[in-house]
């Protein structure tokens, strides 16, 4: 018989060790589909590692992939901390990128030190606005934000498509539905010459550290934690739950919007409907792997990005499907969820004696 006993105070080793263990177990479990595909397992792991870390180029690619994941991971982490279940980071990302393109592709021009902050702010505001509506519907009318934010994703993507076929369409694109390119002064410059990794990474890292300090050390962070952990007690003590939720919505939506700016002004240069391969959803996985810790998001985003980039290059080299990457990420999420359960409960196996 198996019994679960709640743990009152999980140790630090468990809290930090379990996500790491989960990631390792998930990677090891990838051996099973690799073997089923008939691939040489040891060689495949080697190729995966070299694909993500083997050269300056691969590290740059990995970090380019990690950049939007850090931002959407932070967006999910801060929202989930307050129990605001924002599943709409994907839509907020697209709104952010669209705002950046609308302002940053020639409407106004100026030096980089003005243009870059302007597109960043425009994207963040657009993302934030996207989440305020569902949040007010939640706090005022009790509308489930999981449903509203999720459905808004599809609306936003269709809206972006419409705009790309219409006013935002680049006349020089030879009919492709894509926007005019972001002007040079608004482009996030690469950090290393001839590599793709760009200023967005620095912005993402800064956001992570700032958010960690904000949550831990400020009055607003205190109120967010209180509302997230026990909204009834927070309300009783005089904290406005609605105001706190709106603040969280602006932070979360804003961070997702920044991910869009970073992709459009840093990685891609123009907006198209395939800008994000689901970074908004992957951000949820990143945040869960990090156990909603902002600094942890950096680590888990790097992990998820290296799995994607590594598995991509491995699958190209030995000819297995690149869906393997999705599989590893999904398995590590499952492992973390199981691990999270194990930090809260002790499992006891008992030998079943013949019942008397």
């Amino acid at each position: 018989m198996i019994r679960f006993e709640p743990r009152t105070n999980p140790s630090a080793i468990m809290v930090y060790g379990i996500p790491v263990m989960a990631a390792i177990i998930a990677i090891l479990l990838a051996a099973i589909p690799l073997a089923l595909a008939g691939a040489p397992i040891i060689k495949a792991y080697g190729l995966m590692i070299s694909g993500a870390f083997g050269s300056m180029f691969s590290i740059s690619e990995m970090l380019t992939r990690a950049t939007p994941l850090i931002l959407t991971g932070l967006a999910a982490a801060i929202a989930f901390r307050a129990k605001l279940w924002n599943i709409g980071a994907e839509g907020q990302l697209y709104m952010g990128s669209m705002a950046a393109v609308a302002i940053g592709s020639g409407v106004i021009d100026g030096p980089s030190y003005i243009m870059i902050p302007v597109v960043l702010i425009a994207g963040a505001v657009a993302g934030a606005v996207m989440l305020i509506g569902p949040t007010l519907l939640k706090t005022r009318l009790g509308v489930d934000e999981v449903v509203t934010t999720l459905l808004l994703n599809f609306i936003v993507i269709l809206f972006v498509q419409m705009m790309l076929e219409g006013v935002l369409k680049d006349p020089m694109s030879m009919g492709w539905p894509q926007s005019e390119p972001v002007i040079d002064s608004a482009v996030l410059p690469p950090l290393i010459e001839r590599m793709r990794v760009h200023l967005g990474l620095v912005i993402a890292l800064t956001c992570a550290v700032a958010l960690a300090i904000f949550v831990k050390r400020t009055v607003w962070g205190f109120e967010i934690r209180a509302v997230g952990e026990n909204a009834a007690a927070a309300r009783f003590s005089g904290i406005s739950v609605t105001k706190t939720m709106v603040l969280v919505a602006m932070l979360s939506g804003g961070l997702a919007g920044l991910a869009g700016v970073s992709e459009v002004a840093g990685t891609r240069g123009y907006l198209a409907t395939d800008l994000s391969p689901g970074y908004g959803y992957a951000g949820i996985v990143v945040a869960m792997l990090a156990r909603l810790s902002p600094v942890g998001v950096i680590i888990s985003a790097v992990f998820v990005a290296s799995v994607f980039v590594g598995a991509d290059s491995m699958s190209r080299a030995i000819g297995v499907s690149s869906y393997l990457a999705d599989l590893i990420v999904a398995m590590s999420l499952l492992c973390v969820l199981i691990g999270g359960f194990l930090t809260r409960f002790k499992v006891r196996f008992e030998h079943q004696k013949s019942a008397g």
């Binding site: 050390r217 934690r225 209180a226 904290i239």
Partner: protein, 530 residues
């Protein structure tokens, strides 16, 4: 309690349960230290003790949730011969006819009472559901015990007392011979508690044995045949109820003199809060008030008596700043309140002690220090430019832990590790530290042990001495009568005129609480400014 009111045990002295030298250690903590306890057929034994005395551990061993380090549990079989109960096997305990009613009910709210009772006793795979047998059995049980409840209603529509009856029926349906009730009256109104006791008496007369875990002395004296007192893991006393007296039991429980709360005579000062014709209509009787007039003055404790669910919640929400009147007005310190805002109320010197301290009183995952400062983090004392001043927050917590005797691992420990009594002390430290002018105490000692209860009472009286007005909402008449200067009765959203506590006739109060007498006379009392 005389033996006349407490009919002596007439059943045969057949031993049903024998716990012998039960010892259980958790690391260095000895939760149970060689505890012996016997229980006869048809006997009601009260297991008394403060929080942490080892009552729950002992019951968990009986149920096989824990395995004792030493000692044996013997249960009489159908033939009346004692046999050892397999340790660590909950199923064995169930098979032996041991049933438990927890303080927090384990019922599926959306299912009917009948569903809840038969749940788990029916085979999973069956072609059709035939419950006539179950119904007949339950009808017999209900007739024999007075546990009447509509079995067809979904559980969420039942009152707390009715839910408890379902829980007891559930145990009896499974042929329990021994029923363990954990703090059964903590959630009941006085009337429901009385009816529960009558039922238990009736069941005991038919041969059921009962263990009641409790810390309210009066109730234990009323219902049990025998009392066993635990303290610090040891059994420190055991006596027949008709030979017990309240004071000596209380001392046994806490191991020291329990200070008796006494009110000094004190002339009340100026009005602090006045409600004028306040009506709040939320459609639900529990959350509505109708034309309420009420006033509390400096240095005065105004008790609000009433059966739970008669509008106390609405009154408390209003005074806590969480709700506003639909009609009528509230004056605090002589000024009409225009903005009902919990934060504003707290900052203006209103101390608010919530009814449900776990749910509304603390954020479990935040630290003790953060929970103490939670109402004041926006004040200059605890933040600079929006950044928390952890030094100041910690310092306040360190003082509070000493001054209010909050037992916890330290200011940085998560608050969820605290026991109920210590959570209440934490809340007192949070709200009383600022020398409030008005205190709203909503069920401040419910579910607390004797020691913590007397601490809460002492603090409230101290605040009254200091000139604060206290509004004490309670269902415990003893508490109201010892502490209050004036008592008003709330019934169905109507609040009676306040009566000086020493003029009050207990039975009349009972009638008013039951709605037998008009409570909405609203005759202005002497000294009430027109």
């Amino acid at each position: 309690m005389s033996s006349a009111a407490n009919p002596s045990l007439k059943t045969s002295r057949q031993l049903l349960l024998q716990l012998a030298a039960i010892t259980k250690k958790f690391g260095p903590l000895i939760a149970n230290d060689a505890i012996d306890l016997d229980l006869h057929k048809g006997e009601i034994v009260a297991l008394l003790g403060e929080n942490g005395a080892g009552k729950t551990t002992l019951m968990n061993i009986l149920f096989g949730h824990y395995v004792a380090d030493a000692g044996t549990v013997m249960v009489a079989g159908a033939d009346g011969i004692l046999a050892p109960l397999e340790p660590g096997a909950p199923q064995a305990a169930l098979d032996a006819g041991i049933g438990m009613v927890h303080q927090h009910f384990a019922l599926a709210e959306n299912l009917s009472g009948l569903d809840n009772i038969v749940l788990g006793t029916e085979p999973i795979f069956r072609l059709r559901r035939d419950r006539t047998k179950a119904r007949t059995k339950l009808a017999k049980l209900m007739a024999g015990s007075g546990l009447n409840v509509d079995l067809n209603q979904p559980v969420h529509k039942l009152t707390v007392g009715e839910k408890q009856r379902i829980e007891i029926l559930k145990a009896l349906y499974r042929d329990a011979r021994l029923l363990v009730l954990d703090e059964p009256t903590a959630v009941l109104t006085p009337q429901e508690a009385d009816s529960l006791f009558a039922t238990l008496r009736q069941l005991a007369a038919t041969g059921l044995s009962v263990i009641i875990i409790a810390h309210k002395l009066a109730e234990v004296l009323a219902v049990s045949h025998r009392i066993a007192v635990l303290r610090g893991g040891k059994k420190v006393g055991e006596m027949a109820t008709d030979q017990a007296d309240r004071r000596s039991i209380a001392e046994l429980m806490v191991g020291r003199d329990v200070p008796v709360s006494r009110r000094s005579e004190r002339a009340p000062g100026k009005p602090v809060i006045a409600l004028r014709d306040v009506t709040i209509d939320r459609g639900d009787a529990r959350r509505s008030l109708h034309g309420v007039n009420l006033m509390a003055r400096e240095g005065e404790i105004l008790g609000i008596a009433g059966v739970s669910g008669n509008g106390q919640a609405a009154l408390a929400q209003l005074i806590a700043g969480l709700d506003r009147p639909d009609i009528g007005s509230v004056e605090i310190f002589g000024e009409k309140v225009t903005k009902f805002d919990a934060h504003q109320f707290a900052q203006n010197g209103i101390a608010r002690i919530p009814e449900d301290r776990h749910h509304d009183g603390m954020v479990g995952s935040m630290t003790v220090a953060e929970n103490i400062a939670i109402e004041d983090v926006r004040s200059r004392d605890y933040q600079k430019f929006g950044f928390l001043d952890f030094e100041a927050i910690r310092k306040r917590a360190e003082h509070a832990i000493v001054d209010y005797d909050v037992r916890c691992p330290g200011p940085d420990a998560p608050a969820r590790l605290l026991s109920g009594g210590n959570i209440q002390k934490l809340i007192l430290a949070r709200v009383l530290e600022k020398s409030p002018k008005l205190i709203l105490a909503n069920q401040p000692s419910r579910g607390l042990d004797v020691g913590a209860q007397s601490e809460v009472h002492r603090r409230l009286l101290e605040a009254r001495e200091g000139g604060a007005a206290v509004i004490l909402i309670s269902e415990d008449l003893d508490e109201l009568l010892t502490l209050s200067d004036q008592i008003a009765v709330i019934h169905a959203g109507h609040v009676s005129a306040a009566i000086a506590a020493h003029d009050i006739d207990r039975s009349e109060l009972g009638l008013m609480m039951a709605g037998q007498k008009k409570t909405d006379e609203n005759t202005p009392r002497s000294g009430d400014p027109a």
